[in-house]
């Protein structure tokens, strides 16, 4: 253990160069810990410093950073997390995407806060980590295996199971560099955004397998940590909103968003459930109790969130699946499927194949609509008929995509590129941002804050998510999602909160408490004196770094807008007629002013960079323009 780092840190970054098969460690300094905390913050720092603009997502010099934070491995709920930061394949820009399970805890107990992978292996390998034993091992026997099969094979090989071994891999999709391949592990946990699995596959890294290490973790104030952890847990258990999360995870989202017009149905063609659907099956208790189920909690977690299920009926009756998150259920609705058993089955096929469930949902829904309207023919799909709600056909499409077979090769490029390649009326039905990513599983035409957040995000997905405890920042408790000014202000003011959460090494669902409470826990762990203002400044620093990285990569404000369908007007349902497009430019004006970025170039302003302690970025970002900007 590095002796100079604060409590909660292992003190080392593990470095792996796949090209040379060199493995080494690097000390983490107290200054870096305090400035960037870990996870997303640490990853953003490394990405900015080590990946210049000419190094694209598929260049060997791209970095794949798998980082934890100071909470990982400690007795705070949901602290097995890892955050993946890289230059991703979908936007060819920054990626910040989180998964949970046990990876982060196992890594910390082996003595590392993060893994930074560079280079490209000359053969397929997997990375094995157990304390000081770190090896690149032959992955040939694992090729062609999905994420669950990969984990099972390594469990067998290493004679380990359960929490003793965490395995994250990128499935067949990663092997074939499907542009929206994910990195998934621990049977159902997925870092899914921006094609981070394509980066892993491009490096010929099949998996990372971490045995739970033997190294202890020191904290500055053990009693204070226990009190703060209890305070977080109590807040999750008793707050009127998070209580639903505590009891049912994200399951309540389906009914809530259906009634708000924000559940995406049949590729944004309607916001009304078809007649005859038994909606009681889609409430949280309906989804949980409609299946034989069992809790499958992440490290140190007391939430009733993650579960495994057994399919009670249908052609796959008796199969074990991972209970879908809201995003998995909503992907089913996007394809017109309203049978929970069918959606639960498909969701696990998507995880095992290892692609982003949102991107696949938009892609399959789009192909279904295009085939119905004759824009994509059965012949183009190699004889496949893809009708609304047909999950078996959707799975065949999935298998074509992950193997890049036939039309699947085009679809493996994701919605935006496939739509642009096809053009014509098909392109007008596709849901994406011009940057290259797609939304989470919502109809954002009824959630303007997330539409704006998705388009302006610098991480290949939305940056801030739904506002959490935003009254802490002086914002009103409730604002209308159709008030452009209020929405843009809220998205701007809350920017940074999630980046901070993503730096802690904890699940974003267990950090849904007050920032002041999170700071009490962080201070007990580290011995620091973080205030919520410093925490927010830290998160905004990470957000600005990722934004600066993207600007340097050529991602400019003209790309910050939705595709025609994504920004269209709902034709029915609770948000019928609401048109964001006429407010879009004004929303961007307000957002840019609030976050302190330059509206014309997208760059964080010099004053913003100075305020965030990032003045060293100014020469690279602004150069001689700084003086000119100051004059404007």
């Amino acid at each position: 253990m590095g002796s100079t780092v604060p409590g909660g840190y292992a003190g080392k970054i593990l470095r792996v160069d796949l090209s040379t098969e060199r493995i080494w460690t690097e000390e983490l300094t107290p200054e870096v810990c305090r400035t960037y905390v870990g996870g997303a913050g640490l990853g953003a720092k490394i990405l900015w410093e080590e990946v210049p603009p000419e190094v694209g997502w598929d260049h060997p010099d791209n970095r794949l950073i798998m980082a934890t934070g100071p909470f990982a491995g400690l007795p705070i709920w949901g602290t097995g997390g890892l955050t993946v930061v890289t230059r991703g394949a979908m936007t060819n820009g920054a990626t910040n995407t989180q998964a949970n399970g046990f990876f982060g805890a196992n890594l910390k107990h082996s003595g590392y806060d993060a893994i930074v992978i560079q280079g490209r292996a000359s053969r397929w390998v997997y990375l094995y980590i157990y304390d000081d034993t770190v090896e690149l091992r032959d992955a040939t026997p694992l090729l062609g295996k999905d994420t669950w099969e990969t984990q099972q094979a390594l469990e067998q090989l290493l004679h380990l199971s359960g929490h003793q071994l965490s395995v994250y891999s990128s499935g067949v999709a990663g092997e074939n560099q499907v542009r929206f391949a994910a990195i998934a592990g621990d049977y159902g946990h997925v870092a899914s955004k921006n094609g981070c699995g394509a980066v892993m596959g491009n490096k010929r890294l099949k998996a990372v397998a971490i045995v739970r290490g033997t190294k202890g973790l020191r904290v500055a104030d053990p009693r204070g940590l226990m009190l703060a952890a209890e305070e977080i847990a109590d807040d999750l258990k008793y707050d009127p909103s998070t209580r639903s999360l505590y009891e049912y995870g994200t399951l309540p989202g389906v009914m809530n968003l259906l009634r708000l017009g924000a559940l995406p149905i049949k590729n944004y063609t309607t916001n009304v459930a078809p007649p005859g659907v038994d909606l009681d099956k889609w409430t949280a208790p309906g989804l949980r109790n409609g299946f034989p189920h069992r809790g499958y909690q992440c490290n140190a977690c007391g939430m009733h969130h993650c579960h495994t299920q057994v399919l009670p009926a249908g052609p796959h009756q008796g199969e074990l699946v991972d209970e879908p998150e809201y995003e998995g259920w909503s992907a089913g609705w996007a394809m017109g499927c309203t049978d929970p058993v069918a959606v639960a089955w498909l969701n696990t096929q998507i995880d095992r194949a290892c692609v982003d469930v949102n991107e696949f949902g938009w892609l399959a829904g789009w192909v279904m609509e295009c085939q119905e309207k004759g824009y994509i023919t059965k012949e183009q799909l190699g004889g496949l008929e893809l009708r609304w709600g047909d999950v078996e056909a959707a799975n065949r499409l999935l298998q074509m995509i992950i193997r890049r077979e036939g039309f699947g090769d085009l679809l493996a490029e994701g919605v935006k590129r496939a739509a642009e390649r096809l053009g014509g009326p098909a392109a007008e039905c596709a849901i994406y941002t011009l940057v290259g990513n797609t939304p989470r599983g919502h109809d954002h035409r009824a959630r303007w804050e997330e539409l704006l957040d998705t388009c302006t995000g610098s991480s290949g997905t939305l940056d801030s998510g739904p506002p959490v405890r935003h009254t802490e920042w002086g914002l009103p408790a409730r604002f209308s999602t159709f008030d452009p000014e209020a929405v843009a202000r809220v998205v701007g003011v809350t920017r940074g909160r999630r980046h901070f959460e993503d730096s802690l090494g904890a699940c974003i669902f267990t950090t849904r408490t007050y920032m002041a409470t999170l700071c009490r826990a962080l201070n007990a762990v580290t011995g620091w004196d973080f205030t919520k203002e410093e925490a927010m400044r830290c998160g905004r620093r990470t957000a600005a770094l990722l934004r600066a990285f993207n600007v340097r990569c050529g991602i400019t404000p003209d790309l910050e807008r939705p595709s025609k369908r994504y920004g269209s007007v709902p034709v029915d349902g609770p948000a019928k007629g609401q048109d964001i497009s006429k407010h879009w430019e004004h929303m961007l004006d307000v957002w840019y002013e609030t976050v302190g970025y330059d509206r014309r170039t997208g760059k964080p302003l010099p004053a913003t960079l100075r305020e965030l302690g990032l003045e060293h970025l100014i020469p690279a970002l602004w150069g001689s323009e700084e003086a000119a900007h100051a004059r404007r």
Partner: protein, 110 residues
């Protein structure tokens, strides 16, 4: 109306629907929905009807309103006749007998 039962004409009453999770705050189990009928009074607004109704359910009251008890808190979304509050109605908009107010939990997903 995605999940509505056929609307029965209501005379002199406003319908209040606690959807799914929110039914927990009014004696339900979080599944399905619970429907109540609140007597309509001349001059009623969205706010006045909801305040009168929530006064009988302390848990709902705490979740629905902010500390002042006069403005909505962050936990519950309100629909008026299946349209999101803010489209056709505000809290101060008049309500008529036969109108329906739906209460929906805040989205807590990813």
């Amino acid at each position: 109306m995605p999940d509505a039962e056929p609307r029965t004409p209501v005379t002199g009453e406003v319908e209040i629907e606690a959807v799914a999770w929110i039914s927990r705050f009014v004696g339900g189990d979080g599944s399905s929905r619970k429907v109540f009928r609140e007597p309509w009074q001349p001059g009623d607004t969205v706010r006045s009807v909801l305040q009168r109704f929530s006064a009988r359910y302390p848990e709902l009251h705490r979740a629905l309103w902010d500390a002042s008890g006069n403005n909505l808190g962050e936990h519950i979304e309100v629909l008026v006749n299946d349209a999101v509050l803010g489209i056709h109605h505000t809290l101060d908009s008049p309500v008529q007998a036969g109108d329906r107010l739906s209460l929906i939990g805040q989205y807590m997903g990813g």
